[in-house]
Assembly symmetry: C2
Homo-oligomer: 140 residues x 2
């Protein structure tokens, strides 16, 4: 795994949360939704078919764990999550990654998907600290 390099696209749009067994977990820098991105540490590969079956099982467990952390972020920010959305697209950023997004009927895109909708909203500094703390605690 030593030749894994996180794509610059993630460095510019997210903040580190935790190194899980398979994936790097990062907070998407978009205050509109509690949102975690998981990037499996593999050198190349764009599709889940490029992972081994064992790593696919680890990935869906990490997606489940990230879902709990997304709910923790929403709760900490006073906007409890009603539904999780999971997406693996990669049309723009080819490095394999999974989005785990907390949704509410009053959010900026409900009931449509979040990807490609409008512009990311910056977190206020205190809210960012709250979100990072809640997510890291949940992911421990």
């Amino acid at each position: 795994m030593s030749d894994f390099i996180l794509s610059r696209a993630f460095l510019e749009t997210s903040a580190p949360l935790a190194s899980l067994g398979l994936s790097e977990a990062r907070l998407q820098a978009d205050a509109r939704w509690p949102w975690i991105v998981l990037i499996p540490r593999m050198a190349k590969g764009r599709e889940i078919a490029d992972l081994s079956a064992a790593d696919r099982a680890r990935l869906i467990e990490e997606i489940t764990v990230a879902g709990r952390a997304v709910r923790a972020i929403g709760a900490a920010l006073g906007r409890p999550v009603e539904k999780l959305n999971v997406g693996l697209l990669g049309n723009i950023t080819p490095q394999l990654h999974a989005h785990v997004v907390g949704r509410r009927p009053d959010d900026a895109a409900w009931p449509g998907p979040v990807w490609g909708v409008g512009e990311a909203a910056a977190y206020a500094p205190e809210a960012l600290e709250t979100a990072l703390r809640a997510a890291r605690q949940s992911l421990q």
Copy 2:
């Protein structure tokens, strides 16, 4: 599993392909994209966290298998798939389900997501037969 009932939303928008180990696999009735929907046969539950870990591992394997079938549909229709998109949303249809969609840079929504984009396009009868045959053969 005897109390599993497929949501009417799927009956109206897709055609049966195969009963896999965990899920019903169905062809989305939208000729714009080769697209399979997997619905795990469980009585209730909206999130992957409502599945057991063993069933989650089965689900991601079935998503992988469905990805191969989506590629088979694209190839049979002369529009090879360049990227798979996987999504579990459920904002509109609550019964847990996974979308596996074949994407191309010349498709109707690239590089954005497909969900909620425009209106479904009906398959021409011959293309529908081709798609169903290719998918069922791949899923066998």
